[in-house]
Structures are given as C-alpha cells and as structure tokens.
Amino acid sequence: MIRFENVTARYTQETGIFDLSFAVAKGELVFLMGPTGAGKSTVLRAIIRDIPIEKGIITIDKTDVTKLKQRKLPSYRRNIGMIFQDFKLIKGMTVYENISLPLRIVGLSKKMIKDRVTKVIELVGLKGKENSLSMRLSGGEQQRVSIARALVTEPDIILADEPTGNLDPIVSDDIIDILQSTADKGTTVIMSTHNYPLIRPRKKRFIELNDGRLIHQ
C-alpha cells in the first residue's frame, strides 16, 4: 500500500507537487494522469526518494519512507521497479547487461539471473537484441529495455512513468496487460500517462493532477 498524506515537494516556488493526498492499495493498478508539467513524474520520484520531500508523509505498507535513512535507501529501492520516462539506460551496456543490472545489485547467482532475464526479454519482445548496446537501439526498443529492467526483479511496487510513449498502440496495450497481470499477482502499480485513449477502455481508477495538485481520484 502506498499512501500520500499532504505531501509537498518543490523544485521552485511554483513547480513541483503540493499538498497531495491519495492512497493506492496493494495489488492495485492505478493511472496517474494530467497534462505536461502536471507533476506526474514528480510523484513517482517522490516515492523512490529521488527528490527531497518538504512536507507530508509517504507511507509504504507501514513505514514512513520520507524518514528513511540514507543507508536504508538501497534496500528500499530494490523493492521498487521503476520505468523511467527518459529510460535511464546505461548507454555503454548491452540490453542483457542493462536488464540484469538490478539482479546483480541484489546479488543473484549467474544462473538465476540468466533465467529471469531471458524470460523478461521474451516478454517485452526484445529477443535477438540481447547483445546490442543500448545506445544502438531504436526509441521503442530502448523503452522496452527500461520496462524489462523494472519487471525483472519482480518487485513489490512498479512505478511506470509514461512507459508507452515510444510504442505503438498494440504493443502499448500488451505492456499494460503485463502490468495488470503483475498487479494481479500482488504488485502495486502506478503508471503515469497522457494516453487517455489507451487506458479509457480499461475503466481503471485514475488519479488526475494539474499544476502539482490533485484534481480527481
């Protein structure tokens, strides 16, 4: 469970998120909507503690993550799979290396890594690209790598920041299906998107932001 209580996190006086309160249940898939600059990415970055939180409490299960000590952050973040809007791939690494990175951070055995990575590579449709450097991929392929990297650790929480911007509608739908099925297995998923047509048929709960403020949940 993820709960925001009156969370404020600012970049400048007027940009950021302000006094946000909402909750997402365990195993739920929620869409985070809003126009450009609404603060969707900021919400996700707040959860992963990538920006300082000025006020308010973010609770995950029962712990207040705004109070986590610096040295507790690594293990906290390992339970979160984030798909970054700008992918954040390691340019000098291959597809395989990028996707296996979180598992190597956890310290899994080589064999287990191989099993899991092979599986997600197939899942996101990157088979055959394992050994391509990530900077030598098309935009859509890079986005798939980013998705695979978030899925590979089978985390408790998935934060997907505009995960389908470079994918065509059919593939995008497949990706949302994948996210839905992980949610069904108990993972909490928050996906930010502007793509109303893509999510409209799903009739899921969505949280809507504008100018850093909640306008619908």
């Binding site: 992963i48 990538d50 952050l73 690594p74 293990s75 906290y76 973040r77 390992r78 339970n79 979160i80 984030m82 970054f84 954040k88 791939l89 390691i90 340019k91 000098g92 990175l101 979180p102 190597r104 951070i105 956890v106 310290g107 055995s109 080589k110 990297r149």
Partner: protein
Amino acid sequence: MSRIIFFLTESIRALSRARIPALISSITIAITLLIFSMAYYAYVNLIGYSHEFKKQYRIEVFFNPDVEYRQGLELFNKILLIDGIEQGDFVDKEDAAAIFKKIFNKDVIEIIGDNPLPFGGRFEIDEGFRSASTMNSIVNEIKVINGVDDALFSTGLIMRLDRLVSNILGVGILIGIGIFVISIILVSNTIRLIIHAKQDDIHTFTLLGATKLFIKIPFLLEGILQGLIGSGISLLILIFLRSLLFYILGSYRMIIIEPVMLISGNIVAGCLLGLFASHRSISKYLK
C-alpha cells in the same frame, strides 16, 4: 569469488568500451610514474655525483722536518689505520719539491741548494666521514701522533660542498613531495573528469538500489587497471630512455637503478595511484 571475477571482467569490458577516457587516464598515470622514476633516478645519480665530487676531500699531513724517510713511512702507515681514512699517498721530499715548483714556479733546491721540505702524506677520506665535523676530529687525532707537525684540510671547500649537497638533498626531498602531491592531484583530476561524465549512470545505479560499495568497486578496479596500463607505458618509455641514455652518454658513468626494483616500483605505484585517485573521485559523487 564469482563476484570478484564478475567485477573484474566487467571493468575490463568497461575499459575496452570507453577506450579514450581509459587511455587518457592511463597516460596521465604513465606520465606521473615517468616523472617519479626520472626524479628518483636523478636523485640517486646526484647523490652519487656528489660523493664522487667529495673524493677530493683530502687531509694534508706534514711530518716534523727531522723525520727521516723510514720513520715517515711508519707514521704514514699508522695514519692509514685511523678510522675514516680511505687511502693515502706518501709525500717525500721530492714530491714536496714538485708541489713547491708547481705553486711557486721555482725550484726549491736551486734557490736554497738543499731541500728543506718535510716528508708528509695526503689522505683520502671514507665516504661516511666526508663532512667538516668528522674530518676535524680525524685531523685532531692525527695531530697528536708523535712526529706529526701539522695536519690540514681545506675547510672552506668542504663546508661549501657540504652545504651544496645538503641543499640538493633538501630541495630534492621538497621536489619529491611536490611531485607526489601534484601526481595525485593530476591523476585524481583525470579520473574525476571521467567519473563526472558518468554521474548520470551513477545516479541511475543508486535509483536501482545499488549500494555505494557496489558502485565503487568497478571504478576502483578500473583505476587499478588504468594504473597497470600506465605503469606499462611508463616502463616502455623508461626502457627506451635508458637505451637512449646509454647511446648518448655511453662512456659516462651513471648509476642505474635495479630493473626489478624499477619495474615493481612502477607497477605498485601505478596501481596505488589509480586506486587512490579513483577512490577519491568516486567518493565525491557518492555523498
């Protein structure tokens, strides 16, 4: 174990992918080691040179005018046994006359019809005793010997040499420290620039839950590898310079540093430099 191998292959791969930065920092390390080695070499040779120069440290001894040849030789041998005396030349009347002639351009016998000059000796001093104070005590020791009239050494020259040598040593140590500090700054700076360019990747690593240690290790290994490559380059250049030196100065006597020591010194220093510099740099980006 498998993790270590993993990290190692990882950093070798990283090096081979980012060849330019790796090469540049290896070159910086190589230059540093080169300067180190050459400074050390110059230092060793300077000390050697100054010792050679000091060979001219001499004590002149004059025996009483009534000392005869045989007695003079006995005195000479006695003095030779004194601690600090390396070797000596016996100066007989004829030698003294020759010296007289050399200095005053006059034949003493021609002038006086007789050679009034005393027997004596000229003694060279052991390396360890070549300072004004130790030579003074040797002179005092000689002076009390029966039959010795006087013993002299040219204090001024020795004082000057002493001062020169200790100046050179002092300045040498200062320069050494300076080179050391500058090397570390230069190598750190280079590696810092490399890491600076990777700060986005480092940030991504932390967002994926990597611990500081996990992020650091590859950089440290890369640093060590760059140190190894750097020491390799510096050794190649040193070997080249050595042959060049031999070619140019062929006849000249130079003190050459033992190859084993040079090689191991370069490798160890290179690795330490790379390790230290990368540790320093990466720590700045992992607050």
